[in-house]
Amino acid sequence: MAFDQQARTSDVLLHQGRLKRVLGSCLSWLYLACIYGFIFLPVAVLVLFSFQDGRLPVPPFNGFSLQWYEAVFADRKLTAALANSFLVATTSSVVACTLGFLAAYALARYKLPGSALQRGLLIAPMTVSYLIIALGLLAVLNTFGIRLSLWTVGIGHVVINLPLCFAVIYASMGDHHINIERAARDLGASDFKVMTLVTAPMLMPSIMAAFFLSVTFSWDEFIIAFLLSRFDVTLPVEIWSMLRSGLNPKTNAIGSLVFLVSVAVLLVLELALFGRSRKS
């Protein structure tokens, strides 16, 4: 009985604290709802009007139609641009990750003169606007008479992604890995084998993170791709010229497609990575 009484008074006390907490969390959820609304509004509209029956992706919604998706798949320029984007994104990311990894490895493991300066230099492009990078490259490529192509776009994308890859991989290269590499060397592995059999696999999570970040950035990058390409263009540039050449829901369709595919890839990755992180 006495215990019961006590439990009840403490319940009352708890209740007052809880009221405040409930109010606080209500506000939190409200904010959450609003901001998610804000974040998803353009995507929702984008997807909705990709099914628009008619030429105008604006209200009112006339009805459901897949015609614009058909149009996307029939558009060989668009599919070519998709392929180009994929090629540029993966290639430039592989190059950026490789260079970033090697540099991070050297700077984290060896004492080199001016290593702070080198780190600064490698990070520097991160603090410069893409437009400036693109213009500088354009001017130099012009001067040397190098023809613009997907390659030059790729070069530009490596420039912007290298600092990113370097920073991410360098950050994960803790001193606690030194002994693991030493152990490998001690057991007879050559420098190359240490790097390929031990260091790189060990850092795979962050290398993959750097790679996917870099793919994301490259995939969506416009200004460099715009200024440094000529005939073969990447998706954002193609979309840009589609947008300039007239209004129609095809852009919505391609935007929605890219979104859905990215989300699918993301989910697969997330499941794979999540599965792993849960194990460890």
Partner: protein, 328 residues
């Protein structure tokens, strides 16, 4: 397969136009699109000689390109000059010293487009509506300084061909007034979007090239040539002097000027416009002809003027005036 590099306006990038030529000649046509002569020349400056085979350029600017030594001569008899609308042969623009460097391929008008249910079409007959307060905040200005300044010149009751330094102060004043009453200054798609969403009701600088492709979905969109007249745009196509494949390039030009090519170009996905070859009419559907207002052309041609042709200094001034207007 051979490759042909063409520097073009966006209407040429429509596969419906290019693919038949590619198939017929087993070539791949690489297209780079640009907007505005300055941009085109800028691309040419960034290129090596021989990079380009064909170029499309505003008819009024052909001489600029010839003077830079970029365009090559074309055999006049290889071109269907006789089939073109007489007003569009434009010898003074396309030839120099008796040599033909380019040929006009498409034309249309920069004038006033509007939503006829939202504005009084009567008001559109006078160009001064573009700087009057009546439709304040409901006007979009097309973002290309040459035709826009030309329109202002017309609105001031002068001829574009006479445009000189002395006209600039008056023009700048009107530009400023236009900016004040306008909602936005925008490129093709933003203009279309703005018209279609009701963001604005009037587009200054628009014409059939803006409204024709929307005709089906937005039948209320209309355009008019006001009583002061309007700008006529015309684009020419020519072969580059340093082209490594002049024959193929000429073939391409011939294809574009052929009745079939002309019909396709006129109704290209990027924007529609009148074909210069009168025979193209046979290949156009009635509905398309109606959207292009095929039958009204004689009247329009009479009451429209070509873009002004500024000197380099005046061009700079006009651009500055335009930029100033936007920043105001």
């Amino acid at each position: 397969a051979d490759e042909l590099n063409a520097l073009v306006w966006c209407d040429h990038t429509d596969p419906a136009l290019i693919e038949p030529f590619e198939k017929a000649n087993d070539v791949k046509v690489n297209l780079k699109e640009y907007e505005g002569t300055g941009a085109g020349l800028s691309i040419l400056e960034q290129s090596q000689p021989g990079d380009w085979d064909v170029m499309v350029v505003d008819a009024v600017d052909v001489h600029r390109v010839i003077d830079m030594g970029l365009l090559g001569e074309m055999p006049a008899d290889a071109l269907p000059t006789a089939d073109l609308f007489p007003e569009l042969r434009m010898e003074e623009n396309n030839t120099k010293d008796g040599k033909t460097y380019a040929v006009t391929e498409k034309f249309g008008y920069n004038t006033i487009s509007f939503d006829k249910t939202k504005v009084d079409p009567k008001d559109m007959e006078d160009l001064s509506v573009i700087w009057s307060d009546k439709y304040k905040g409901r006007i979009a200005l097309y973002d290309y300084y040459l035709p826009m300044i030309g329109l202002v010149q017309l609105g001031l009751g002068k001829k574009t061909a006479d445009l000189s330094d002395a006209d600039m102060p008056a023009i700048e004043e009107k530009l400023s007034a236009m900016k004040t009453v306008s909602k936005q200054v925008s490129d093709v798609v933003s203009s279309q979007t703005a018209l279609a969403t009701g963001e604005v009701d009037i587009l200054v600088g628009g014409g059939e090239w803006i409204t024709a492709s929307l005709a089906k979905d937005k039948p209320d969109l209309d355009w008019i040539v006001p009583k002061q007249g309007a700008m006529r745009w015309a684009q020419s196509i020519g072969v580059m002097k340093d082209s490594k494949k002049p024959d193929l390039a000429l073939k391409f030009v011939q294809y574009i000027l052929s009745p079939e090519g002309q019909a396709r170009l006129a109704t290209s996905s990027c924007y529609w416009g009148m074909p210069t070859n009168q025979k193209a009419g046979e290949h156009l559907a009635d509905e398309q002809k109606k959207a292009l207002r095929w039958d009204d052309q004689p009247a329009y041609l009479k009451n429209t003027q070509l873009y002004p042709i500024p000197t380099a200094e005046l061009d700079q001034k006009m651009q500055d005036a335009w930029t100033n207007m936007m920043q105001q």
